[in-house]
Symmetry: D2
Subunit: 360 residues, 4 copies
């Protein structure tokens, strides 16, 4: 059970969906960074369910407390502990899933791996686990903003077969993204996506989506070759988010269709620094950031829990059916952007601190 | 510079393209595994350039020596050190790239990161670095085969716009794959791919490709939630391979287009064990292997080095042109399969050994 | 700030003396181990100050909550989070030490290292940090007891110049130890030590001591050569306890005075297993446990905080005097045994789980 | 088998006494440090046996090659690989120890741990393993010298019951130490120690000793509380050296005899920086270096291998006798100083690089 992520700036998350609480401990944050509970809370509020009619009506306040590591408004260099107590638990909603393995879920795998599991609300595999990531990720984001004015944004670029047209990477803002109930910055596309999600819900079904990640003004020189390449760690970070099935950076899968003469990004020196004319690389070459925008795309599968009946097997080997009850987002991609941003921030902050020791 | 990969079964690779040699140290291999230099050499021979007209004519023997950790034909539980001395170096082929940054390469990034670099043949970012991965990966493959009869195969499923039709995952064999000069098991597609690569070379160009990875009979229960999910570590492993730009598992990016009712794999109990009727999950749910085939697809960009002139900048800020000389594969994807298999084996062996301590 | 200890079974502690609380997250515990809050609480009660007239009158309840990782009385294999809220804080007792560096304390070093510090009650360097170690250590102790009937005991063997005569390692029990207010199992010595501590207190002074650690029935084969030898990790574990200045195992420093013919422990086979006739090795050879008792001795310096005036410097470069106020143990060694046992348990449990993968 | 040491600057050693060779890979060294094979060789020559009549006549050249990571005389930031090929092997000297477990050695423990072992010359537990430590340690020493003029020295301060009188820590030099065949800087004591060693050898016996470590001008603020305290990692590092049984820092075990008023080191500000009037702390408080000399003492047991007959058991359960043959140092402490210095350098360099990220 590796609930720890990062090398020198690393977070450990803990907590089950219906246990006493969830949280995280963040280690390796430098001393002297200003951070408040309010900043962390604001990020958690973006992640929280119950925000609008498209997400689950489960209404948790997810109130965070910083238990340690911050003194007089600044980090002290010691571990920062975040605790969120669980509330609003409907444990009896989940009695069926004690017995029947939910298709598309980790239930069976946890039993195969550990011999038994906390079946209430998905236990450790619940999306509530990501609360700890977002809390720690917000510290990472603040660090990057403080040292390099780095900006990290993610939005929903596809829902089912509805695709967002290209957005202006220079100007897209969090305000634009958060103004949309589906977190798509293009208003027309947003409306169509909303219909798609409502249609899925109406049919007791769910739908997949794609999230695009953008990092503006990343520090240059980040990424540790060979195995901890910046894109490799971003890939791990993203695939570690529940329901993520694919990752590409820059040209991604379309690179496989190209000739080298099309794909290579021409390098030039503008008198002050090096840049490339195109950005098929997505801001990373040889695993190292070159200062161009980092752009990635992430595929999210449709929510596994469906309110319709599904064939499945039980923990004592019966074959039968399960109809889920309870409260479930019909499209997990819609709540993913802040988690994606948090994971990207954790990777970049860790790489930034690692890079501080690479030159004499 | 993280040249170390793995948690309890971990490898450190070392070496530059034109230094004295390349190699790896593998730690954490259990005692008692039979392994020989011949087995390692056979894997390296699959990776080696100069095998046919489609790959670079650079002809290195890449003769491996096991320096430690094996006694009387079996591993002792101590570190296994592999050394391959470099030969056949044409260092003068690379004089131009001391000055001019190759587009699509890591040259500029290494200078930005470390202040200077070993420019000969790409130094550490050379594909020769993967020799150490393949040597260690072969031990991992042997371990998995010994304990679970696991089979790991990878092949070229696309070159440019030429796609291999679906293959029979139950029967595809390494013999079929290696019989093709482009490592595509379908003979007709193989011939078309070969033409595509020759056409790219004729035009002093290069071309991208896709590699498919298949793991048959993976141990069940592998993958450490939360951050070291099996698919997350596979994603990192694959993106760490030079030129890889994308990763997907199971339904991958197409999952984003689906409804949940299409995507969920129905679980059933066959009287002996649990299985799923479809495999959109690609063998991994909640980050844990469920015993179904693990299937991933990896995008490789076209080779960055081109024999045609390309605009670029120099290390002293001039803007100009570079025409590469030397020997270069027009399609890096063709040599990728054995590296992909090795990285998959390293991930799975590490997860297998981690799983040994998850239950009391 | 490495607040994380262990390789595959590892704990992260967090919290400052006068922040909101202290705690720990324990990762890597196998699923299925029975553990209760009561067991953890009982260990914390042994560590707690305010137990008798020899320790500080600070009276905290140190009530622990297990927030995650335990379900229906058993570990689930997921992270176990312990939270203890702080109470009974007299922050104003500590106003002086905001300015004046306490001799023998970490105050100055924290300022030199991090630029500033949480000065209240020693902040992170407070002995309250060890609460997290004891909570996690109790899980480790339970694991070792469950799998191998391992027993771990520590006691005070010297206070100042008063030394405990040799004890019977086969029969010494926690009851004997805890029956003594100074945790010395020999009643006569215990009484003399008590006088020594009271004498130090009467003189507004403090006194050092030695703690002996004994592990009965350790699992055989534990310890990972080369750098994570069992004795090497025990040494790190013990020196990481506040005020510990020395570590020795088996014959320890007296080994340096011996001839090899005196020192070597004769090996014999008793028909069932291998043993040694003597135990100068202290149960560890080549860094690996051989099954004999593990015996170590640890030196603790006298408490640094004194109620008498001491010369020192301030954080703005003045030279002056500081008279500590507040509540302080005159002999830190007296509360050390449960911490020593906990650290030993953490090392052994980690090594036990590592050993599970060393053979095929 | 943890053959890796360090957190961000870390070394992996490999190799058995009578395999093809021994070596190390050093990762995390910053780019730009000047280093040559000659500097590494000079350190290895201090470690090498066969230097005089007091050490084993085994005469190996231990010729090191730097295989990677150094280009044009400077480190590149990539892994530095050291290879030393084994020569001068008398494998038949060791036939007896295939069967009979040597008392005081790791033979039995390796068999208990791994099921079998490379019995030739102690295999992995041979002192030849330390070659890799010394090679990597020399890079660490160069780094510390370059960035902070740090000096690291170790010498033999006791052999048996012969103790070196206090030395002047301000002036003691490597020249003084290396001028003595027993590496004791006091000429009269050196002569007495030499007699003691020769006497042990004459009696087919061996003798223990104590090594003192001194670090002058250590960087300030090194050491990562809580678990990776500077003294805790030094303790691990030293106990990981073969035959080391004890570690103390500063006042060490004598601290347990003191009152706090004697022990506390008075802090003063000299107008430029903070110092202490005494150094009972040994340069480390709260696990962090305060800039005073770091002083430690290490106990080494007598060499386990004796040329006289010793009772022991065999690998098939017989009880009998073993008389060792071959070439063995009668006092391992004499060759320990360069290894002690190397381990100290590895710890300090790692801590130095970790500290680079502790402040914003």
């Amino acid at each position: 059970m590796s609930s720890t992520f990062g090398t020198v700036f690393f977070v450990t998350t803990w907590g089950e969906s219906h246990g006493k609480g969830v949280g995280a401990v963040l280690e390796g944050c430098p001393a002297g960074l200003p951070i408040t509970e309010e900043e962390i809370q604001a990020a958690l509020d973006r992640r929280r369910p119950g925000q609008n009619k498209l997400t689950t009506p489960r209404n948790e306040k997810d109130q965070v407390r910083i238990m340690s590591g911050v003194f007089e408004g600044k980090t002290t260099g010691t571990p920062i502990s975040f605790v969120v107590e669980n509330e609003d638990q409907h444990s009896n909603d989940y009695e069926d899933i004690k017995k029947w393995y939910r298709p598309g879920h980790a239930d069976l795998c946890y039993d195969l791996k550990y011999g038994f599991r906390d079946y209430r609300g998905g236990g450790r595999s619940s999306a509530r686990e990501t609360i700890g990531r977002v809390a720690a990720g917000e510290v990472a984001r603040k660090l990057l903003k403080t040292v390099n004015q780095t900006e990290i944004l993610a939005w929903v670029s596809s829902v089912g077969n509805i695709d967002c047209p290209p957005v202006d990477l220079d100007t897209i803002s969090m305000e634009q993204i958060e103004a949309s109930p589906v977190r798509c910055p293009d208003p027309a596309t947003s409306a169509a996506m909303e219909q798609e999600v409502l249609d899925a819900r109406k049919n007791k079904d769910s739908v997949g989506g794609i999230v695009t990640l953008l990092v503006r003004k990343p520090p240059i020189g980040l990424g540790e070759p060979v195995f901890d390449k910046l894109d490799a760690k971003l890939a791990q970070a993203m695939l570690s988010i529940p329901a993520c099935k694919g990752f590409e950076i820059g040209s991604g899968f379309s690179a496989a269709r190209m000739r080298g003469s099309q794909h290579n990004d021409t390098i030039y020196f503008d008198g002050r620094e090096y840049h490339t004319k195109t950005n098929n690389a997505g801001g990373v070459l040889g695993g190292i950031s070159n200062g161009e925008y980092i752009v990635c795309r992430l595929a999210f599968k449709p929510t596994a829990t469906l309110l319709q009946a599904q064939d499945t097997a039980s923990n004592n080997g019966e074959n039968g059916q399960l109809s889920a009850k309870g409260r479930h987002d019909p499209c997990v991609a819609l709540r993913a952007p802040v988690i994606v941003e948090s994971m990207a921030a954790l990777v970049l902050a860790d790489m930034y601190l690692q890079q501080k020791r690479n030159c004499l």
